[in-house]
C-alpha cells in the first residue's frame, strides 16, 4: 500500500459529472450486473471449503461463499474471545473461586449472584455456596474476568451462552459453570500452607521460590 503521497483535500464531485455514455444508463447497468454476475459464476463453479477462515475464501476454484453456514459450520473463536463463563477448578476439582464478590462488583449488568460459605479447610476458608450467572443479563464485557483476583472465572470456553427456551434456564449455577482444565498458579502455594500450629520457618516452602520476581 502506497501511503507516501499526501493528497490535498479535493472537491471530488467536480469530476463526477456523468458523461453522455454514463447518462445512457445501459453501460453502468451492465457493468454493475457484470460485477454481480461474476460473484454468481464464481460461487456457482467454485468449491466451498468450510474449514478455512472467511478471509482466505477467495481466488478461483476454491473457498468461495464467504458466509458461514452457521450451525453446521462454526467459526472458531479467536483465543482472546469473550465467550461463555466458566468457573475454573482447582486440581482437586473444587472451584478456585473464594466468593470475594469482585466479579459481582465489577459487573455492570449485575448478573452474578454469589452466596459465600465457609470451608473447614484452613487454607481456603471461603467458597461460593451458590454462584450463579444470568447469561441473559450478561453483556459479555469481560469485566468479571478482569476483576477476579484468583483467576477463578474465565470466558475462554470458546463458545457462547446457549439459547434457552425459558428464562430460568439461562441462569447457570455453580455446577454448570464449573468445568474446563484446572488451573494451578505459582501463587496458589500461599493457600496450601503447613498444618495449623506448626509454623513453618521462612522460606522452607518450595512454593516460595516460584514467587520471586515479577
Amino acid at each position: 500500500m502506497d501511503h507516501g503521497h499526501a493528497e490535498s483535500p479535493r472537491a471530488a464531485q467536480d469530476e463526477q459529472e456523468l458523461t453522455l455514455g454514463e447518462k445512457l444508463f445501459l453501460r453502468e447497468t451492465i457493468k454493475g450486473m457484470a460485477i454481480v454476475a461474476r460473484h454468481f459464476w464464481k460461487n456457482l463453479f467454485g468449491f466451498r471449503d468450510n474449514t478455512t477462515e472467511v478471509l482466505d475464501r477467495k481466488g478461483t476454484g476454491v473457498n468461495l461463499v464467504t458466509t458461514i453456514n452457521y450451525p453446521e459450520e462454526q467459526k472458531p473463536y479467536p483465543p482472546g474471545y469473550r465467550g461463555m463463563h466458566r468457573l475454573v477448578p482447582r486440581v482437586d476439582g473444587r472451584p478456585r473461586c473464594v466468593a470475594c464478590y469482585m466479579c459481582a462488583t465489577a459487573c455492570p449488568a449485575q448478573c452474578i449472584y454469589i452466596e459465600a460459605g465457609e470451608y473447614d479447610d484452613q487454607a481456603i476458608e471461603k467458597y461460593p455456596v451458590r454462584f450463579e450467572i444470568d447469561e441473559l443479563r450478561c453483556i459479555v464485557c469481560g469485566f468479571c474476568v478482569e476483576a477476579c483476583p484468583k483467576d477463578a472465572i474465565r470466558m475462554d470456553t470458546g463458545t457462547h451462552a446457549p439459547a434457552v427456551l425459558s428464562r430460568p434456564l439461562a441462569v447457570f449455577d455453580k455446577e454448570a459453570l464449573l468445568g474446563g482444565a484446572p488451573v494451578e498458579l505459582s501463587s496458589d502455594s500461599m493457600t496450601y500452607r503447613a498444618p495449623l500450629k506448626t509454623v513453618a520457618p521462612m522460606g522452607s516452602n518450595e512454593g516460595g521460590k516460584k514467587m520471586g520476581g515479577h
Binding site: R10, Q13, T29
Partner: protein, 413 residues
C-alpha cells in the same frame, strides 16, 4: 369573477355545485407516519410526514424509541463500567466511542496512555470507522434496492470484525479501552492478518464504487437531493462526513490532532454541493483514507506496554494481584470504589464516525462520574432532517435518511 376575488382574498373557494367538473377537486395533505418499525429506519425512529401527493411538505422526526438513559445510567456506574454503555452509543463503530470516552477521562485525570496504546487505539479506531462507513454506504444501496452491494459491504465489514474480535475479544461490544491504555494487546500475527484484510476490504469497496458511483440510476437518486450548503450545515451543527460533503474542511483528526493522528498521512475528502451523493462519496473516500491510516499505524507501532504502570488508575498486572498483597489491595480498591478521578469538568472531543463525538464529563472526585453528557454527532444532523427533506418526494427520503447515517444508539442515547 367572484372566484378570482376569493382567491385573492386567500380563501379557498367552496364549490357550490360539487358536480361541476371544471373545478379543481378538493384536496388535502396526507399525514403519514413512517416508522418506528420501518425497513428504512435502521434504528427505531418515527418520521411524521405531511405529504402533498408524494412531495414532503413537512417531516418531523420523532426520536426516543431507543432511549436507554445513558447519562443517568453512567452516574450509577464506575468510570470503567461506563465503557460498555459507550459501546452501545454508536454500535457500528464501538471502538471510536471507547476511545473518545476514555480519552475524556484521561484528560480529566491528566494522564496519557502509552505510546503503543496510542497506535493501537488509532488502528482499531480507524478499522471501526471503516466498518461504520461501509455499513452506511452499502445501506444506501440496500435501501435503494441494490441488495447485493449491501452484502458486499457487509462482507468487508465482517472480515474486519473478525480482526476486531481477535484484538478485543468481541465483535461489536468491544469495551476495549482502559484508562491509561487498552485492555488487550494485538495478538501474535494480528498485524499481518490486518495487512491481508485491508486490501480485501478495499477490493470490495471498489466493487461498491463501481456499482454506484457512475450508475445513473443511483446518481439520479442522490445527486441534488437533500442539499445543504456549507454555512447552513455549520449552523445546524453538522460535523463529520455530512459537513465535509458540504465543502467545509473540518476534521478533528486534522484540526485538533489527538493520539498519533499528526504522524499519519491521510487526506480529508471534501464535497462541494452537500447533497446525498457527496455524502456518499465522502464516506467512500474516507474508507480508503482510513485504510491508509490503519496500515501506517500498524507500521509505526512501537513495542512496549499497552497500559500505564500506575496502580491508582490502571489495574495491577494479574501476576501481582495473584501473588502480592499490594497488588490485590490496589485491585480491590479499584474494583470496589472505581478509579478516583479528580474533581473537575472536561469536554473532550474526537472524530467519531459521524462527526464530532464529544464527552462532557464531570467528576466530583469519587469513583463514579458525577455527570456525563454526550455530544452525539448524529443528533444535530437528525435535527436537520426536516430541513433536508423539505420539498423532496417520498422516494428521496430513503437516500437522504441513509446518507446522514442516523444511529439510534448515539442519537437517542
Amino acid at each position: 369573477m367572484s372566484e378570482t376575488q376569493s382567491h385573492s382574498a386567500g380563501v379557498v373557494p367552496v364549490n357550490p355545485d360539487p358536480l361541476e367538473l371544471d373545478d379543481e377537486l378538493p384536496s388535502a395533505f396526507t399525514k403519514v407516519k413512517l416508522g418506528p418499525s420501518h425497513p428504512a429506519t435502521h434504528g427505531t425512529v418515527r418520521l411524521n410526514m405531511t405529504l402533498d401527493g408524494e412531495r414532503i411538505v413537512e417531516c418531523i422526526p420523532e426520536i426516543g424509541f431507543l432511549h436507554r438513559g445513558f447519562s443517568k445510567s453512567s452516574e450509577n456506574a464506575t468510570w470503567h463500567q461506563v465503557l460498555p454503555y459507550t459501546d452501545r452509543l454508536n454500535y457500528v463503530s464501538p471502538i471510536l466511542n471507547n476511545v473518545g470516552y476514555i480519552m475524556g477521562v484521561e484528560k480529566l485525570i491528566g494522564i496519557t496512555d502509552t505510546e503503543r496504546s496510542k497506535y493501537l487505539r488509532v488502528a482499531a479506531g480507524e478499522i471501526s470507522r471503516i466498518c461504520d462507513h461501509l455499513t452506511c454506504v452499502s445501506a444506501i444501496g440496500l435501501e435503494l434496492g441494490a441488495m447485493s452491494a449491501f452484502l458486499y459491504g457487509v462482507e468487508a465489514r465482517e472480515i474486519l470484525w473478525d480482526r476486531v474480535a481477535e484484538l478485543t475479544g468481541a465483535r461489536m461490544t468491544t469495551s476495549w479501552t482502559r484508562i491509561g491504555g487498552v485492555a488487550t494487546d494485538a495478538p501474535i500475527g494480528w498485524i499481518e492478518r490486518v495487512k491481508e484484510t485491508i486490501p480485501r476490504v478495499l477490493e470490495l469497496t471498489d466493487e461498491l464504487d463501481k456499482l454506484f458511483s457512475k450508475n445513473r440510476i443511483f446518481v439520479d437518486r442522490t445527486r441534488n437531493v437533500g442539499v445543504i450548503g456549507a454555512d447552513e450545515a455549520i449552523s445546524w451543527g453538522f460535523t463529520g462526513p455530512a459537513l465535509r460533503a458540504s465543502g467545509v474542511d473540518y476534521d478533528i483528526r486534522k484540526a485538533h490532532p489527538y493520539l498519533v493522528y499528526d504522524r499519519m498521512e491521510f487526506s480529508v475528502p471534501l464535497g462541494s454541493r452537500g447533497d446525498t451523493f457527496d455524502r456518499y462519496l465522502c464516506r467512500l473516500e474516507e474508507i480508503r483514507q482510513s485504510a491508509k491510516i490503519v496500515l501506517q499505524a500498524l507500521e509505526q507501532m512501537p513495542p512496549g506496554p499497552i497500559i500505564i504502570d500506575d496502580w491508582r488508575y490502571a489495574l495491577p498486572p494479574k501476576k501481582d494481584v495473584f501473588s502480592s498483597i499490594e497488588g490485590v489491595m490496589a485491585h480491590f480498591k479499584l474494583i470496589m470504589e472505581g478509579i478516583h478521578v479528580p474533581a473537575g469538568e472536561v469536554y473532550s472531543f474526537t472524530e467519531g464516525s459521524n462527526g464530532e463525538l464529544g464527552f462532557h464529563l464531570v467528576s466530583n472526585g469519587a469513583g463514579k462520574p458525577y455527570a456525563i453528557q454526550v455530544r452525539a454527532p448524529g443528533f444535530p444532523i437528525v435535527g436537520a432532517l426536516p430541513r433536508l427533506l423539505h420539498g423532496h418526494s417520498l422516494g428521496d427520503l430513503i437516500p437522504i435518511f441513509d446518507s446522514i447515517n442516523m444511529i439510534g444508539g448515539e442519537v437517542e442515547q
